[in-house]
């Protein structure tokens, strides 16, 4: 029997200028024991569907049409009290961020027992017993002890397990999981997804898994529904949709996913819905003053780099606690290559980038750039020459541009600071850069909030190119972006290397992306460099156990269609 049926569901958000249609006549069904993936890029309306089913739409959003039925009985349009009795009891929800989903002032047990008692009407003792069983089931070790602990005493992955246990308290028939693993590291992500799979099989629970990640869809779900701008564009068995997509949007989305197993020259520009952009990095090459290559062939050399942070302050120095974020790391980057650094969160990869960018001081070790020892330079004046030659592209396109500065001021700032050009020549360079990254020179007179995430990242790239640097640091430049936008940005970065001969340090947690971008890769773990190798060599024959583990956790995506990629495969 079909558990949940969504028919012609529309959700509207009236705003000042118009009614924003977040979901437009969407259909979806969930069967017992089935994991139904709901995939789409940001703004596709996938989370809104989850909230609408739960009756948790934020005002002024409301269901404008269609029905949601549970076991054949319509549940949309009921009053709040009726929805509440169904919520939790028959349909549960898991949120994205385990850090904020639990009440910090109540123990895990108190939260579990309250929910169990409310739904199952058990005695205090039985509720507690049941809570311990649930914690045990979701894989919390020593559940009898852990039950009396507070959420802050659990790690992120453990908290998400507790959240799942809470969602199971009422023995629901349907669970809606909204990006349940997005905030977690890849190794923990795999465990949580495995747990969700097991629970669905074992209890015959229907699961709606909302995600933006094609890897998660391909590895976890039985069926998938693809959404674009509020509407369902394609739906079917996961293997069918991933392997042989019918709709143009699905095709473009799948073509943009970086594959771990094959390397492409460029991502195909399968455009859909006006997303394609024209950029002409090759045109920039004409006015680009390429510097002499370094004599040794090595542009940047990092030796025994170390960084410690104060973890716990104390009056007495011996009682202070320090944390070694980067521990004795060495590598070098050759002229003109893209060097990747991969690792999970907390591995110290961003700290390395920030030390090279002179944003952090080092606590030991040497950084040498084109025969000059950068770590020996202390004053701002001495560092000017180095800073002009390096630039950085940051992770978050929303915070990397000053919201109170105009775009042309943002791009001109490094040029003016280094006094590279004067007067009209500055404006000319800004216009040219904006044109070449596909935004058009009139974009300069606007403010950052008028642009989308991908456009902002292109503004960041224009700023980074303004001083005509030799070396570019990219710190997770696409991890906050949708997959189709990511493909655009990665293409631009590939062009920068090819046409302008830029050397790059590319920091990422995403192995498939690293495979597409980098010539050589270093793997970091807990502040240390575990392994450095040529990219193809690392993916084919990893030497270290940790590298093998990381590679094994990576989604294989073998069932994904390769339509449109054929010409680009290297």
């Amino acid at each position: 029997m079909t558990l949940l049926t969504i028919e012609d569901l529309s959700v509207h958000f009236p705003t000042r200028h118009k009614v924003f249609v977040a979901v437009n006549e969407a259909d979806l069904t969930v069967e017992p024991g089935e994991i139904h993936g709901l995939v789409g890029e940001s703004g596709a309306g996938k989370s809104t569907i989850g909230a609408a089913v739960m009756g948790l739409l934020e005002r002024p959003g409301h269901i404008a049409g269609g029905t949601v039925s549970f076991k054949g009985e319509a549940i949309s349009g009921r009053d709040a009290e009726a929805m509440r009795s169904l919520r939790g009891a028959k349909i549960s929800m898991i949120f994205q961020d385990p850090l904020t989903s639990l009440n910090p002032l109540l123990t895990v047990g108190q939260q579990l027992i309250e929910t169990i008692q409310f739904h199952l009407k058990l005695s205090d003792g039985d509720s507690r017993k049941r809570a311990v069983e649930l914690l045990d089931r979701v894989g919390i070790p020593l559940p009898d002890e852990r039950i009396d602990m507070y959420p802050h005493q659990f790690s992120g992955g453990m908290r998400q397990r507790v959240v799942i246990a809470l969602a199971l308290c009422s023995e629901p028939d349907v669970i809606i999981a909204d990006e349940p693993t997005t905030a977690l590291d890849v190794s923990i992500q795999a465990q949580i997804l495995e747990l969700i799979k097991e629970l669905a099989r074992e209890r015959q629970t229907g699961v709606i898994l909302i995600t933006h990640d094609m890897g998660v869809i391909a590895d976890t779900t039985d069926k998938v529904t693809v959404m674009y701008q509020g509407a369902v564009v394609e739906s079917g068995a996961t293997e069918q949709v991933m392997g042989n997509p019918q709709h143009d949007y699905t095709k473009s989305l799948i073509a943009a996913v970086p594959r771990p197993t094959l390397k492409v020259h460029r991502f195909p520009q399968l455009s859909y819905g006006g997303r394609s952009i024209e950029f002409h990095i090759d045109d920039l090459a004409r006015n680009w003053q390429k510097p002499e290559p370094s004599k040794s062939g090595t542009l940047l050399k990092v030796e025994n780099l170390t960084k410690t942070f104060l973890q716990k302050g104390a009056l007495i120095p011996s009682r202070r606690k320090y944390f070694k974020a980067v521990d004795n790391v060495s590598f070098d980057i050759r002229d003109g290559e893209v060097f990747g650094v991969v690792g999970e969160s907390g591995s110290g990869k961003s700290t390395v980038a920030r030390m090279i960018a002179t944003l952090y001081e080092t606590n030991g070790g040497k950084i040498t750039f084109d025969e000059t020892e950068v770590t020996a330079l202390s004053s701002n004046r001495d560092l000017e020459g180095y800073r002009r030659q390096i630039q950085m592209i940051f992770q978050d396109p929303y915070s990397s541009l000053n919201p109170r500065m105009r775009v042309d001021e943002i791009i001109a700032e490094p040029v003016k600071h280094h006094k590279l050009l004067e007067g009209a020549a500055i404006q000319h360079r800004v216009d040219e850069l904006l044109d070449r990254v596909g935004l058009g020179s009139e974009a300069g007179r606007r403010y950052p909030h008028e642009f989308s995430g991908g456009q902002r990242q292109r503004i960041s790239i224009a700023r980074a190119l303004a001083t005509q640097p030799r070396f570019l640091i990219c710190d997770e430049p696409t991890s906050a972006l949708d997959v189709s936008i990511q493909a655009q940005i990665l293409n631009i970065l590939k062009d920068l290397q090819e046409h302008l001969g830029l050397t790059m340090l590319f920091i990422s947690h995403d192995l498939p992306v690293v495979r597409q971008m980098c010539d050589r890769v270093g793997v970091m773990r807990q502040g240390q460099m575990v392994e450095v190798a040529e990219t193809e060599e690392l993916f084919a024959n990893p030497k270290e156990a940790y590298t093998r583990e990381l590679l094994s956790l990576m989604p294989k995506l073998e069932g994904l269609s390769t339509e449109g990629l054929k010409d680009e495969i290297v």
């Binding site: 000042r16 006006g274 944003l359 701002n380 940051f394 000053n402 919201p403 456009q455």
Partner: protein
């Protein structure tokens, strides 16, 4: 969401401001428009008091003691003169004294807030961005001062200042001492908020981008961080203005503020309190209503600002 945002042509500053959600929100909120109107009316009539007021209450020559205690809109029994809002014991026109009193109240309020704002923003920016022992000193001082209510700090400063100024200068200095006392008692709010916002902003990537270029601390603080921390400052400044006006009125009412030779609204209420029980209600009523409308409309404006600038609610 997509590239469509870049299609329309850039607009002029004014059109941009008028079309912004902020201005739209303002136009759509009757309370905000109404209170802005009242504030503007009161501020303008205070500024142009010499042109509007029928009498100059500070000019002894224009006063006639015979006109004392004239009720509003009633002819005086000796002189036959009519005053809109009546007169006080010395025959001063209440309407005129209110206009002149509001001038002093607003002058003290605005100056004190400006003083507190400049001091607080500077110290807050430095504490937040530079950190280290400078931050410790500034914020500890703020904490200690925060333990004491602003009005008490203002009274103490007033008392000390009174102790060290010679008696013959006291009346002349009183207004400046008031501004100093209220301003010094209020900088902590600004410093704490600016420091908090600075700590958030300084970790943002646009500040790191500026540091990477090699920009100095001063430029980063003024050009990058300051413009981004101003919206909470605006809210606090508005609420502080209401508080400063009330604080000034309170001090003057207690007799430790504006001197009788330069009466502010608080002084007028202090004077009027004595006549309330003998039936001359207008001497206290009208200054009180003026004070209340001033404080209330500034507070309403601040309340609206806080909601309108709250990024979460947008």
């Amino acid at each position: 969401m997509s590239d469509q945002t870049s299609q329309s042509a850039p607009k002029s500053m004014f059109a941009r401001a008028w079309d912004s959600d902020f201005a739209y929100n303002f136009r759509r909120t009757p309370v905000a428009v109404g209170s802005a109107f009242v504030v503007a009316l009161l501020v303008l009539s205070a500024i142009f008091a010499p042109l509007i007021a029928p009498h100059n209450p500070f000019d002894p020559a224009s006063l006639d003691l015979m006109n004392g205690f004239t009720a509003p809109m009633a002819a005086n029994e000796f002189t036959g003169d009519v005053f809109w809002l009546g007169t006080d014991d010395q025959g001063r026109d209440v309407f005129s004294t209110i206009l002149y009193g509001m001038r002093i109240s607003l002058f003290v309020g605005f100056s004190a807030v400006l003083f507190a704002m400049v001091l607080g923003i500077t110290l807050g920016l430095i504490a937040g961005y530079v950190g280290g022992w400078i931050e410790t000193i500034i914020m500890r001082a703020a904490d200690v001062q925060l333990t004491f209510p602003a009005i008490l700090v203002a009274m103490l400063i007033f008392g000390v200042a009174k102790g060290i100024t010679p008696i013959e200068h006291q009346d002349k200095m009183a207004i400046w001492v008031l501004i100093l006392a209220i301003g010094l008692s209020d900088w902590v709010q600004f410093a704490r908020v600016v420091r908090g916002a600075t700590l958030v902003e300084k970790d943002k990537e646009y500040v790191q981008a500026a540091r990477m270029i090699g920009r100095g601390k001063g430029i980063i603080m003024l050009r990058h961080i300051l413009p981004n921390v101003l919206s909470p400052v605006l809210v606090i400044a508005t609420i502080s203005l209401a508080l400063a006006i009330i604080a000034e009125a309170t001090l003057s009412f207690l007799g430790v503020g504006a001197p009788p030779t330069q009466p502010s609204l608080g002084t007028l209420i202090r004077i009027g309190q004595g006549f309330l029980f003998s039936g001359e209600w207008w001497i206290i009523l009208f200054p009180s209503v003026t004070l209340l409308s001033l404080a209330l409309s500034v507070n309403l404006l601040g309340d609206w600002l806080r909601d309108a600038l709250n990024p979460r609610l947008q």
